[in-house]
């Protein structure tokens, strides 16, 4: 088994029009997906990242320069992640295909955790 990160990119345009009922419905879909992965013993974790641009650090002429995230103009932000276990990329892709994130306009960046020495 390998570890995979599903990096969840959100669109920055907010869905302010969603009704309470619709919001509950979408959450229920995510929770159902999450529960299914957890039941299979494949879920390692998942977190939401703060809705800001974060901090950006670089070594610039010998001094560390810290700036607010450079992504303010971007159409999407990294909103959160899931970490899962899967045999290989093919299986991880199959699992990710069901994730409601895609249906609701988000983008998933799938990355394998490199455990090889």
């Amino acid at each position: 088994m390998e570890g995979f990160m599903l990096l969840l990119h959100d669109r920055t345009t907010q869905q302010g029009d969603l009704s309470p009922e619709e919001i509950q419905g979408i959450i229920a879909e995510y929770v159902a997906w999450r529960d299914k992965i957890a039941e299979q013993g494949r879920l390692l974790g998942g977190e939401k990242l703060a809705d800001d641009d974060g901090r950006h650090l670089v070594l610039d002429d010998g001094a560390i320069r810290v700036t607010d995230g450079p992504y303010t103009e971007a159409k999407e932000v990294l909103g959160g992640y899931f970490a899962i276990k899967a045999a290989d990329y093919d299986e991880a892709v199959e699992i990710s295909k069901d994730c409601p994130h895609l249906k609701y306009g988000g983008r998933i960046e799938l990355r394998k955790i490199d455990n090889h020495r």
Binding site: L18, E21, I27, D35, D51, G80, Y81
Partner: protein, 427 residues
């Protein structure tokens, strides 16, 4: 960790209910002047829940989480514009609410929330508002429906509904509407207005619910929930309130049987009565008994009585048609309506036969009734039963031309084919 069913089933409509409850509680504290701010803050807290819970999973106590987040959001927004005393009371109340949200016992706090919701219903059904905006405002602020959902339910567009709500809220502010259950001297007419709104809300949901849109069935359930709130409160627990609750419950008990294969509307004689919701009927009968506790008879009493004859009949044939006919006569005498008169014809056909019913139906017909598709369905069924098969086919065709709802259209086409097939067999 709470599972999937906690949010979908056992907490059915959690978000919608929660939005309505919070709006009521906070509007009582901060007044109608702040209602837009309150609604925005509640919406934002739900969107926060969307991103948090979707990625992290559900918190241990979803309701308490929602209340805390909304509280922080609202206090932030209000800090600039409100008195410290209001903020303090708001903060105290929300904390108490969040604490009580986890316990299953019916705390004093839950009672306070119900009280707030009742006050909000009376405000939304304020006589200064137009009847349409009373319904829209009640659905939005008490029921937690969105502008989009209200538009779907009333076959209107979002902009029109949004404008109507803005105007209604302004009107309430201008009128100096307060969150209160009206004083006994005013309660009568104000309660009448509330009951009328619930009645219209229910009918709107019931009239076309052929499985076409879940939102429309939700209108029925919301009307029932609000009728129960009124029926349970000592100040509003009046006989006609129980009558209205009974009427809703009897009608709604049939909803599961009204929608047949592929969402086709199924009419009363053809319904599988084992699908009727027995719990609702039992609750309806309890309210119906409570409705008889006074000397007052309202239209709702008679309508509930009529609905009760169907609810307690084993099958269509064993319905007490004579009692039903007589109840229609009493209803029409009190308040004539063409629709009630049309429904009476159906009972008349069972008591006096289809010929007599057809004869009376034709005396009812006018331009307005002829634009109403159930008239043509009733006409067609009576024509079929009196051997006028060809006329019946034409009536069904005419009815289908009047209808836009797909489930009803399917029903009419199916029915027409059935009659056509029988006709050609010479039956």
């Amino acid at each position: 960790m709470p599972g999937y069913d906690q949010i979908t089933e056992s907490v059915d409509h959690l978000f919608r209910r929660h939005a309505g409850q919070m709006t009521a509680v906070l509007t009582r504290i901060f007044g109608f002047g702040k209602i837009d701010l309150i609604e925005d803050a509640i919406q934002e807290s739900m969107l926060r829940a969307l991103s948090h819970w979707s990625y992290k999973g559900l918190p241990d106590n979803p309701r308490a989480w929602l209340i805390q987040v909304a509280k922080n959001n609202i206090l932030d927004r209000l800090r600039k514009s409100s008195r410290d005393a209001d903020l303090e009371e708001g903060s105290r109340l929300l904390d108490a609410w969040a604490r009580s949200a986890g316990s299953s016992v019916d705390t004093a706090f839950e009672k306070e929330i119900r009280e707030d919701q009742l006050q909000m219903i009376f405000a939304c059904c304020h006589p200064a508002l137009t009847p349409d905006s009373r319904i829209a405002l009640t659905l939005k602020t008490v029921g937690g429906f969105s502008v989009g959902e209200i538009a779907v339910a009333f076959l209107s567009n979002k902009d029109a509904v949004a404008k109507m709500l803005v105007r209604a809220k302004k009107k309430l502010r201008d009128e100096g509407a307060r969150m209160e259950i009206p004083a006994p001297s005013e309660l009568g007419p104000r309660l009448e207005s509330v009951l009328k709104v619930l009645y219209l809300m229910f009918n709107e949901g019931y009239s076309a619910s052929g499985g076409e849109s879940a939102v429309r069935t939700d209108l029925c359930h919301e009307a029932i929930r609000l009728a129960r709130l009124l029926a349970d409160h000592p100040l509003t627990s009046q006989p006609k309130v129980h009558a209205l609750a009974a009427l809703f419950l009897f009608q709604a008990s049939r909803l599961p049987a009204r929608s047949g294969e592929g969402g086709t509307l199924t009419i009363l004689p053809d319904q599988d009565r084992s699908l009727w919701d027995r719990k609702m009927i039992a609750e309806g009968l309890r309210h119906f008994r409570s409705s008889a506790s006074g000397s007052e008879i309202s239209d709702y009493h008679l309508e509930a009585e009529i609905a009760s004859y169907h609810a307690v009949s084993e099958d269509y044939g064993s319905t007490d048609w004579r009692a039903l006919l007589e109840a229609y006569d009493r209803l029409l005498e009190r308040r004539y309506s063409q629709i009630a008169a049309l429904n009476r014809i159906i009972a008349l056909a069972e008591v006096e036969g289809p010929d007599k019913a057809l004869e009376e139906l034709q005396t009812l017909a006018d331009e307005k009734l002829e634009a109403y598709y159930p008239y043509h369905v009733t006409l067609a069924e009576l024509q079929r039963r009196t051997g006028l098969g060809e006329d019946a086919l034409r009536s069904y065709e005419f009815a289908a031309g009047l209808v836009e709802n797909e489930a009803v259209k399917r029903f009419l086409r199916k029915r027409r084919e059935e009659i056509g097939a029988k006709g050609s067999e010479g039956v």
